[in-house]
């Protein structure tokens, strides 16, 4: 499979059909594994890294889950292509900085991506739409079980899987969900939620993980500890917390509609106006405004069939996606112009926000999704 195939199709998780997909954009589970007797990638010399890569890459490529996969050495990808993969959460920012001795293998549906020689020898990640942490874990767990028969993974009966960073030792698992929480942000309750989540040992991060800013009202919630708890316990605890946050977000939206409907309507109208008519837009501004339009779709101010075009814009207006699709390197100013143009073009067929629908739906209280089990 070629890189152009990846560009052409958005990946399964982007189509947003999973449970609670209005609020939970995606669920991800990654496992870290290392080979015994080999130095970790950060400490290994170049030759050792290449040798480890030679051991691992063929085993990953022959996985049944990796039929018709995209497999590439990091040195063969351009900086722009790497950035595209980061924007799709298929590789980490750390991995994008790697070159000789590292690789990435992913399946066609873009639900499974395996990084070789990131911080650990193997970082296996599954990404699904909506709240599907269990499903994501099942896939990556199966892959791990297949690989352990062919590769000698480093583990200790007491400490579990051994990882380069002591923060990952044990299960080597990081489970996370990307949540869209405009209701909690607009009603200024988000800091309270973040504090509560932090207190129970879970981490809240911005769009691209550690150390990144929260943009577009998107937040990542993940487990912070990996030792002393079983995988399914960690996932169960995390899922429960996420379900509570989903409820809080629905409640916040209800309150906003009942008590601050004019503010809400004003926000949606302004976002629509700026996105439809602006001629220059930074990616941060675009994300923040698109988030409000997405909220508008959730509340019924825009027809449901406009959901996908908006979700796609979240990704397509990211800096690397813009440049890759226009097939040229652009400076910040040119990117802002092109971004505004793409948004204007796609919103041209967008109907104006319909406030009467918002009001009606608020009365009927149909914005709350029925609880779905995984």
């Amino acid at each position: 499979m070629k890189f152009s195939n990846i560009m052409a199709s958005g990946g399964e998780w982007l189509r947003g059909e999973g449970p609670h997909h209005q609020i939970v954009v995606s669920s991800r589970v990654r496992l870290a594994r290392n080979l015994r007797q080999h130095p970790f990638p950060g400490w290994a010399k170049r030759a050792a890294r290449s040798q480890i890569l030679e051991l691992i890459k063929p085993r990953v490529e022959e996985l049944p889950e990796m039929q018709d996969s995209f497999s590439e050495l990091l040195q063969d990808l351009s900086a722009l292509e790497k950035q595209v993969l980061v924007e799709r959460h298929l590789i980490s920012r750390e991995h994008a900085a790697k070159s000789v001795g590292s690789a990435v293998v992913m399946n066609r549906r873009q639900t499974l991506s395996i990084m070789v020689n990131e911080e650990d020898h193997l970082r296996m990640q599954s990404i699904r739409s909506g709240l599907q942490l269990k499903g994501a874990f099942k896939l990556v767990d199966k892959v791990d079980s297949t690989l352990e028969g062919k590769l000698d993974f480093a583990y200790d009966p007491k400490l579990g899987y051994l990882t380069a960073c002591p923060t990952n030792v044990g299960t080597g698992m990081r489970a996370s969900a990307m949540l869209h929480l405009p209701g909690l942000v607009l009603s200024e309750m988000i800091n309270q939620v973040i504090q509560a989540v932090n207190k129970i040992g879970l981490a809240v991060r911005g769009l691209y993980g550690e150390g990144t800013e929260a943009m577009g009202n998107l937040f990542q919630i993940s487990n912070q500890t990996t030792l002393g708890e079983k995988e399914d316990e960690i996932i169960g605890r995390l899922s429960k917390v996420i379900e509570t946050i989903i409820e809080k977000e629905h409640d916040a939206r209800q309150v906003l509609m009942q008590k601050k409907s004019n503010t809400l309507w004003d926000q949606i109208g302004r976002a629509y106006g700026v996105l439809t008519f602006a001629h220059a837009m930074t990616s941060k501004e675009a994300l923040n405004l698109l988030s409000i339009i997405k909220l508008g779709v959730d509340l019924g101010a825009f027809p449901e069939d406009r959901r996908l075009p908006i979700d796609e814009l979240f990704i397509d207006t990211q800096p690397a996606h813009l440049q890759k699709s226009s097939q040229q390197k652009l400076n910040a100013e040119e990117r802002d112009e092109l971004r505004a143009q793409i948004i204007r073009d796609r919103l041209r067929v967008f109907p104006k926000p319909d406030i009467s629908k918002v009001a009606r739906e608020s009365e009927n209280n149909v914005t709350s999704e029925p609880p779905k089990n995984e």
């Binding site: 290392n34 015994r36 007797q37 080999h38 130095p39 970790f40 950060g42 400490w43 911080e119 767990d141 791990d144 079980s145 352990e148 028969g149 993974f153 480093a154 583990y155 200790d156 009966p157 007491k158 400490l159 579990g160 899987y161 051994l162 380069a164 960073c165 002591p166 923060t167 030792v169 044990g170 299960t171 698992m173 800091n191 973040i194 504090q195 932090n198 040992g201 150390g211 800013e213 500890t225 990996t226 030792l227 002393g228 708890e229 079983k230 995988e231």
Partner: protein, 163 residues
């Protein structure tokens, strides 16, 4: 932006440190920056902050001059990067890592998945332990017939473990 340490207050102190060509950023609130003694940004390693204060010292305490025999990694290297050199480092620096892991995680022992191979090894070593105990008991009771049989079983198990 929230403080990276307490995650409660807004960060007012923004630190950027370049370690081995890698840029690391830490955001702290006023209280935490004072508590951690961050007046002089050159005086401490960011790894300490990112991994819990005193991580590097803990490792140092456990193995003041030790070097991993498998990969040559030292505690100074850990202080710099906050990462270990290879899986054997967990044995080399076990003492210092113990308290670090305790502070970092929910428990100190892994209870989740292990490779199939590990289950077999654990099973064999459990069997070995019980056989050895029984052997000692048999010898103490001067039950030499049982002891001889147990000794044979241990020999066979040793061969299995070695394979």
């Amino acid at each position: 932006m929230l403080c990276d340490v307490c995650k409660c207050n807004d960060a007012t102190v923004f630190l950027t440190q370049i370690l081995e060509g890698k840029m690391q950023k830490v955001n702290l609130c006023d209280a935490c920056s004072k508590e951690k003694g961050v007046q002089d940004p050159t005086g401490f390693a960011l790894a300490d902050l990112l991994l819990g204060i005193g991580a590097a010292e803990e490792i140092e305490k456990g193995a003041p001059t030790q070097k991993c025999v498998v990969c040559g990694f030292t505690q100074a290297d850990f202080k710099k990067s906050g990462r270990l050199g290879c899986s054997a480092c967990y044995v080399t620096f076990a003492e210092g890592l113990g308290s670090l892991l305790k502070a970092m995680h929910k428990g100190t022992e892994h209870v989740g998945k292990l490779p199939q191979r590990a289950h077999r090894e654990i099973e064999l070593s459990d069997r070995m332990r019980s056989l050895t105990e029984n052997l000692q008991k048999a010898v103490a009771e001067e039950n030499y017939e049982t002891a001889a049989s147990l000794r044979d079983q241990i020999k066979q198990l040793e061969m299995e473990l070695a394979s």
